[in-house]
Structures are given as C-alpha cells and as structure tokens.
C-alpha cells in the first residue's frame, strides 16, 4: 500500500510538471506528427504502400517520441539538484522507478491515441479489432516506458545523456518494435487474422514484465551512481 502511495506521489509530480510545461503536447506530439507526415511524403504520395506499412511507421514514430519523453523525464531532475532531492526524499527507489515509468507510459499512451488518429487520417487506414490493438498498445507502451526509464536513469547525470540514451535504448526495444508492428498488422488484417496477434501481445507482455522487474530492482543503485 505504501508502495502504491509513493508511486503515485512521483507519477503525480511528473504529470503535474508536464501539464504545466506542456513539453509533451507542445514538442513531442508535433515531432511525432511530423515524422508520420515525412513518411507519408517520402514513401508514397499516391497512398498505395502506406496502409500496408502503416503499423511499422506508427511504432517508429512512437519510439522516436518515446526517446524524447524519457529524456525529458530525467532532464527535469537535473535542474536545481532535483535528482539529489529525489535521492534524499526517502521514497522507496522501486516506487520511484514505477512512478516515473507510469508517468512516461501515460504520456506515451496519449501520444499513441493522437498519432493513431493521424495514421488513420494520413495513411488511409480503417481501424478495427480494438480488442487486439488496445492490449498490444498497452503492453508495448509499458515495455517502452519501463526500458526507457531504466536506461534513462543509467544515462542521467552524464553530459552525453541526450546522445547516449538512443544508443542504449534503441537496440533494447527492438523486440517491442517487432512485436507491436506484427500485432498491429494482424489486428488490422494486413498480415493474417486478428487472432494471430495474440502470441505477439504475449511477447510484448513478457518484455514489459522483464523490464519492469529489472527496473524495480536496479533503479536505486543506478540512481546512486548517476
């Protein structure tokens, strides 16, 4: 119970800062939309290929936006020695990890809904099989947020944080890209039937579970070294 309370203290703090600074809505979201538009321009002005590759392009846009969101989540701990304040707060470090990851996941999920609408609009795609797409998106989002938060704290405090984070994170989340893209392809009927998405959803769930556990255990020691 205490863990949940402390988790929410951190999540509420990060979301409040985001609500006031509007970095996700004002910068990360436009970035994702621009990525989708650039793909549309580059790949297929006649919109023939786009619907077929839309799931992969959507998740690339989400992944790039996730890099910005994770980087932002730790950048706000840099000013005024806030990271030391967090260390001194007395909060359980597992709760810190879960709280920060949850805040990132909530922001990412909102981004995915809006970018998803963009995909439907720009790529001429018809949404269907929500019972498959929503669990796949949730599992992928939790996996991205957990891995991002873990590698985010690993890179925190380094002067090369912004350039190091993508190098560390992108290879690690390749399974999320693969699984989420395949699940969406099946769910949208682009590559198999919606029912064929479930093994990919399970893989995404397993990835999320592994990185959530790893982050819960490793966040404290990594924060001390940051």
């Amino acid at each position: 119970m205490n863990l949940l309370r402390e988790l929410w203290v951190v999540t509420a703090k990060d979301l409040r800062i985001e609500a006031r600074s509007r970095v996700t809505i004002g910068q990360v979201l436009p970035f994702g939309v621009i990525v989708l538009l650039l793909f549309a321009f580059a790949l297929d002005p006649d919109r023939g290929i786009l619907p077929r590759v839309a799931p992969g392009l959507f998740w690339v846009a989400v992944l790039l936006a996730a890099l910005l969101a994770v980087s932002r989540a730790f950048a706000l701990e840099e000013a005024n020695g806030a990271r030391d304040g967090l260390r001194l707060s007395g909060l359980d470090t597992g709760a810190m990890f879960l709280g920060k990851a949850l805040a990132v996941a909530i922001q990412l999920f909102v981004l995915e809904v809006i970018l998803g609408a963009g995909v439907v609009l720009f790529y001429d795609l018809t949404p269907r099989a929500a019972e498959v797409l929503v669990p796949a998106a949730l599992a992928a989002t939790v996996g991205l947020a957990a891995a991002g938060t873990l590698y985010g704290v690993l890179a925190a405090g380094l002067r090369v944080r912004e350039t190091l984070l993508p190098l560390l994170l992108l290879p690690v989340v390749a399974p999320v890209m693969l699984g989420a893209t395949r699940a969406f392809e099946a769910g949208l009927g682009l590559n198999g039937a919606p029912g064929e998405a479930w093994p990919w959803v399970e893989m995404l769930g397993l990835f999320a579970l592994i990185y959530t556990t790893l982050g819960f255990l490793a966040f404290g020691p990594l924060l001390e070294e940051a």
Binding site: K13, R20, A82, R87, L88, S89, G90, E224
Partner: protein
C-alpha cells in the same frame, strides 16, 4: 544523550581527490553544531557524507544509528539537507514543491502548510519556483527541509542570499530546533550570526587538525577533532 552522528577517521574521495581525509566527529541528539572553515575545506562534503549523498571511502560513519558503510539510504527519510541547490522543480509552485516533499516523507499536507507559514511564504504559494528570487528560493529550500520534520537538519550556508527578515526567520528555526528534538549541523561563513545560535563549533581546515570550541565561551572543548583536506 545519544549520538546522532559518529564519525571515525572518515575519508571521502571526490574522484581521486580526498575531500575529507580522516574526520572524527561526535554530535549528540539535540545539539546545534557550527562547521566553520575556509572555502574548499570540506564542509559541504562533510554534510553530503552525513546525508549519504557521497560514499564513505574509509573509516567509520554512523548517522541516526545507520552505518553508512553498509547502507547510506535508510536514514535519509529522517534528515533534511539544505544545500547550494534548492532540490525543487522550476515548473511546480511553492505549494506543490512543499507538498511533494512532505508526501514523499510520509507526512500530510498540513506539514507543508505549517512550513509555508513558518517561513513566511504564504503569498508565494501559487508562484512557480522558476519565478522566485534567489532569497525566496532559499526560504523555500528551508521550508521544504522543515516540512519533512527531520530529526537531523543539515544546513550548508543557509544565510546566503537571505534578506534581513529571512535571516531572522532562519535564526528562529535554528534556535527552536532543540525544543523540537532536532539536531542541526550548519556550515556557515556568517560566523557571528551562527555562533550566537550554535552550542559547539567545529573548525574544518585544510591540512590541519582543529579544535572544537564552545562558541559562547570561546574555549576549546574536548572529544572532537576534524582533520580535513591536505592541500
């Protein structure tokens, strides 16, 4: 009286540089200790060691009953550090920063409200930290520290940047600490002001073993020595 701080030949490295080179220090419960000494002597590192923010390299260090060689996290819930940074978030208001600190320490909103009033920050409750002046930030940092109701309060140059009213408020906080069962260790260059409040003074001087003084009597007191950085 029980010991809140017990250091024996404590060594701290910043990189490969020995910022503290063999510190012995005992601080009793309810004491107010002034750390004096020139810039770079190791006062800030000593406070950060006590807060568990820098690791102990050699020697022994016990704070609030916790051995820092084994665990430098568990005692943090019971202490507050006011350092050169405020540890606050620019995009949160004064009230929100205080509530976050109090809730993180397992205390209610009333703790943050009390600290807000005590430091005279009520009219700034809805102002974001990023818009505060340096002195107002200093007051907020102190309010954040008090909102956690710490047993051990570590203050690093707390008078810096404060106006006359802010200094009066700070002095009242320091003077009232023993009655609140709070131990205070304060590093300051404002010696006259700090000596008037401190019960003991520990000089931290690079390369020299130093005496512990009773500021009110200005005579050496036994049992505590601090040996700081060889230059």
């Amino acid at each position: 009286m029980s010991l809140v701080v017990r250091l024996r030949s404590a060594v701290c490295l910043l990189g490969r540089f020995p910022a503290l080179a063999g510190v012995d220090l005992d601080v009793e419960d309810g004491d107010i200790v002034l750390l004096s000494g020139p810039n770079g002597a190791g006062k800030t590192t000593l406070l950060r060691l006590l807060a568990g923010l820098v690791p102990l390299h050699a020697g022994g260090a016990e704070v609030l009953g916790h051995d820092l060689a084994l665990d430098r996290r568990s005692h943090r819930r019971h202490l507050s550090l006011v350092g050169h940074d405020t540890f606050c978030y620019d995009d949160l208001t004064v009230g929100e920063n205080l509530r976050f600190a109090a809730r993180a320490a397992g205390r209610g909103i009333e703790a943050s409200d009390t600290a807000l009033e005590r430091l005279g920050l009520e009219r700034l409750r809805d102002v974001t930290h990023g818009r505060l002046s340096a002195g107002q930030r200093r007051r907020l940092a102190l309010a954040v520290a008090l909102s956690r109701d710490p047993r051990l309060l570590l203050l690093d140059e707390p008078h810096a940047g404060l106006d006359a009213e802010g200094r009066e408020v700070l002095d009242r906080v320091l003077a009232g600490a023993p009655a609140e069962n709070r131990t205070v260790i304060v590093a300051s260059h404002e010696l006259d002001r700090a000596r008037a409040l401190a019960r003991r003074e520990v000089a931290v001087v690079g390369g020299q073993a130093t005496a512990t003084l009773d500021p009110s009597r200005a005579t050496p007191a036994p049992a505590v020595t601090v040996e700081a950085v060889p230059r």
